[in-house]
């Protein structure tokens, strides 16, 4: 209380001075953070620059700006990537996986976060097992299961496979965050005779928006960038993802930056756009949820 008194007294006497100082501090803070973010982006800028250079330019002047924007690398990459089709495939698969993972994950996490007993602990342990499993361990069993279910070379199959792979992450994620939601919110709904499903859907789900945004971003990049599953489960050229198209530029015995980097940039641009759109949408949802 004394603290607040001095604070108000202080601001009353030297308000202008304080304001200027705060402004200055704020500009300074913005500058520092933006500067650091810029430094973090340097390696990517370096990559984009390399993607515009000719082979000879790259090593003669590795850090310099390209003499001219050499679009030839991009033209060559585009010509052989089947770009539009593979980007659409990647987007479709990624979004479907996110929907499945978010839905099944949040649902499974709800009881695990709310019922603290032995059953929950056992189930959580089983989920943790899923998180801890090295991915390559599951390759052969997954292939066999999908073959037996007739899901090879189908969008449904690849979506389910990715969803399975990312589900433990989602459950883990949601369990932690649901546990932090005050139980009182639910109790009110239960008094209104809402059943489990209604409580989950109308009370819990809206509160999960920020977490869902974050989780979706993680799932998005992992699915987008994986190429082992598409290689394993898809054979039809028309179903392949954009990372497979990028992957074709990686040699067995090394890489040529003028080939790989333009393809990599092209492969990641749609992801960046999706990210931006997604971030805006979900964040809007998050604040809407908070207002309610």
């Amino acid at each position: 209380m004394s603290l607040s008194e001095t604070a108000t007294a202080h601001s009353a006497t030297s308000l202008d001075w304080d304001l200027i100082r705060r402004r200055g501090k704020s500009v300074f803070a913005h500058g520092i953070v933006l500067g650091l973010v810029g430094v973090m982006l340097l390696p990517l800028i370096y990559m984009v620059m390399m993607s515009f250079k000719t082979s000879t330019e790259i090593a003669q002047d590795p850090l310099g700006l390209p003499n001219t924007l050499y679009w030839g690398n991009y033209m060559e990459a585009l010509a052989s990537m089947g770009y539009v089709r593979s980007v659409i495939n990647s987007m479709g698969i990624t979004v479907s996986v996110i929907l499945v993972v978010v839905f099944a994950g949040a649902m499974a996490a709800y009881p695990l976060a709310r019922l603290e007993n032995r059953i929950s602990r056992v189930i959580v342990m089983v989920m943790a097992l899923g998180l801890a499993t090295p991915n390559f361990v599951t390759i052969t069993p997954i292939y066999v299961i999908f073959r037996d279910l007739g899901l090879l070379d189908s969008y449904l199959g690849i979506v389910l496979a990715f969803a399975a792979l990312k589900l433990p992450l989602a459950v883990f994620f949601y369990t932690s965050f649901i546990a932090a939601i005050p139980i009182e919110l639910e109790e009110a709904a239960r008094l209104d005779n809402c059943n489990n499903w209604q409580v989950f859907w109308h009370v819990i789900r809206p509160l999960l928006a920020p977490v869902t945004a974050t989780l979706s971003l993680f799932v998005m990049i992992m699915v987008w960038n994986d190429f082992i599953y598409p290689l394993l489960l898809l054979t039809d050229k028309d179903k392949l993802t954009v990372m497979i198209a990028v992957y074709k530029f990686v040699g067995n015995t090394g890489i040529d930056p003028t080939k790989l980097f333009p393809a990599a940039v092209l492969g990641s641009i749609p992801l960046l756009i999706m990210f931006a759109v997604f971030q805006r949408k979900i964040m809007a949802g998050a604040t809407a949820g908070a207002v309610k």
Partner: protein, 410 residues
């Protein structure tokens, strides 16, 4: 009761889905680690030609990088749903063939009789041939002739003395003479100076019959690496930081270094760099004045046992037995034919290497013939890097590790 039901269901499904039953095209599912953008290997041209000759077959070539083949193909082989044709190398033939997943292509064919005898011996096991070999590919020194000329040298070095004087001349001009990364380039030099083409066979080391640690040839080989350091060919400590597959070729491509030990598969890529005037030469070796050609037995085609379109797969292989078709592949690869006779498709810039080969100064790289066990390869990569980092240590410390690796493989 359940088993037959599912298999009948499976059969019905397969029949319903298989294009052959619908009277349409056969789709030939080919998996290879070539034919992508990085290593086209003439595949687009060959596929077009094959499809023109076989209008009822569509080739669906899937690129899977060599290291991912190990992840992606075994599940398909084991799941009974393999590609119709798959690219294999000797270790895959050994592994998949040994487990019975590959079809015997028959030793009675014409091409079998024409194979280079040494390659034939490597590829045949128990009277069966499971692979149609596509290439034998050279490994040696890429030499930037313009940089050499700046140091007053006109020919790519093929003896150790020539190499040393080239290094000294280059270093005096302020040009980095050589890349010698332990992960691969150094292995080529050490191998070329340890394996006597007319002496002890590589298999003797690989089987543990002869130990590396007591072997004079390999001790001398490591000693001669120190001579190269003395001649300012390279800074041994720096080599560990270079990736032999990514940054090292890039240094050569851009003319920062005069000599790069690598495989001939880089010829196409290096040739695409404007103004890079280079030759491909055999590895200087104390066993020969011609330089030693290190031939790698390259990949080939195999037909999995459960291939759905085995007949079309045969046609695909038959297509490659035509010299003119195989040559398209070889020319794009910068490789030699695994068959005797025929015209060479190698470019002029590989003349020094071809000359050594023609003079019989040649070994088959023991890792590609499985004379050296696979585990020894990673031990060479590690231990030669270790040797370069600590070049004054006893040879024994390096050589002993090779012997342990061989022991481990048994």
């Amino acid at each position: 009761m359940e088993k037959p039901m599912t298999s009948i269901l499976g059969l019905a499904l397969a029949a319903g889905l298989s294009p052959a039953a619908a009277g349409a095209q056969t789709v030939l599912d080919v998996v290879a680690w070539k034919g992508n953008e990085a290593e086209p290997a003439g595949m687009p041209e060959l596929i077009a030609k094959f499809e023109a000759e076989n209008p009822d077959i569509d080739v669906d070539l899937t690129f899977v990088a060599r290291k991912d083949v190990d992840k992606v193909i075994p599940p398909r082989l084991q799941g009974g749903n393999p590609p119709d044709v798959t690219m294999v190398d000797s270790s895959l033939v050994d592994l998949w063939g040994g487990a019975g997943f590959l079809t015997d292509l028959g030793t009675d064919s014409d091409w079998y009789g024409q194979m280079i005898p040494a390659v034939r011996d490597v590829m045949t096991s128990d009277g069966e041939i499971l692979v149609y070999p596509l290439e034998v590919i050279g490994m040696g020194n890429f030499v930037n002739m313009d940089l050499l000329a700046q140091a007053g040298i006109d020919n790519a070095p093929v003896t150790i003395d020539e190499l040393k004087s080239a290094c000294q001349a280059l270093a005096a001009e302020g040009i980095a003479p050589m890349i010698f990364a332990g992960g691969f380039p150094a292995m080529l030099y050490v191998g070329a100076n340890g394996l006597d083409p007319n002496g002890v066979s590589a298999a003797e080391y690989g089987s543990g019959e002869r130990t590396f640690v007591d072997d004079e040839n390999f001790n001398t080989s490591l000693d001669s690496v120190r001579d190269l350091v003395e001649a300012e060919c390279f800074d041994p400590k720096l080599q560990a930081g270079l990736d032999p597959w990514a940054t090292a070729p890039q240094e050569f491509r851009s003319g920062n270094v005069a000599i790069l030990p690598q495989g001939a598969w880089n010829i196409g890529n290096f040739s695409s760099v404007e103004g890079l005037n280079f030759q491909f030469a055999p590895m200087p070796s104390r066993f020969t004045e011609h330089g030693l050609a290190l031939d790698l037995v390259g990949p080939g085609w195999a037909i999995p046992r459960d291939a759905a379109n085995a007949e079309a797969a045969r046609k695909w292989i038959d297509f490659f037995t035509e010299e003119e078709n195989l040559n398209v592949f070889l020319e794009a690869e910068g490789a030699y034919s695994p068959f005797t006779g025929g015209v060479s498709t190698m470019p002029d810039l590989a003349e020094p290497y071809t000359a050594a080969r023609d003079a019989g100064s040649l070994i088959l790289w023991p890792f590609s013939t499985l004379e050296f066990p696979k585990i020894l390869q990673s031990e060479w990569e590690d231990s030669i890097t270790g040797f370069l980092l600590n070049i004054d240590a006893d040879n024994e410390e390096t050589l002993e590790r090779w012997d342990y690796a061989v022991e481990d493989s048994m």
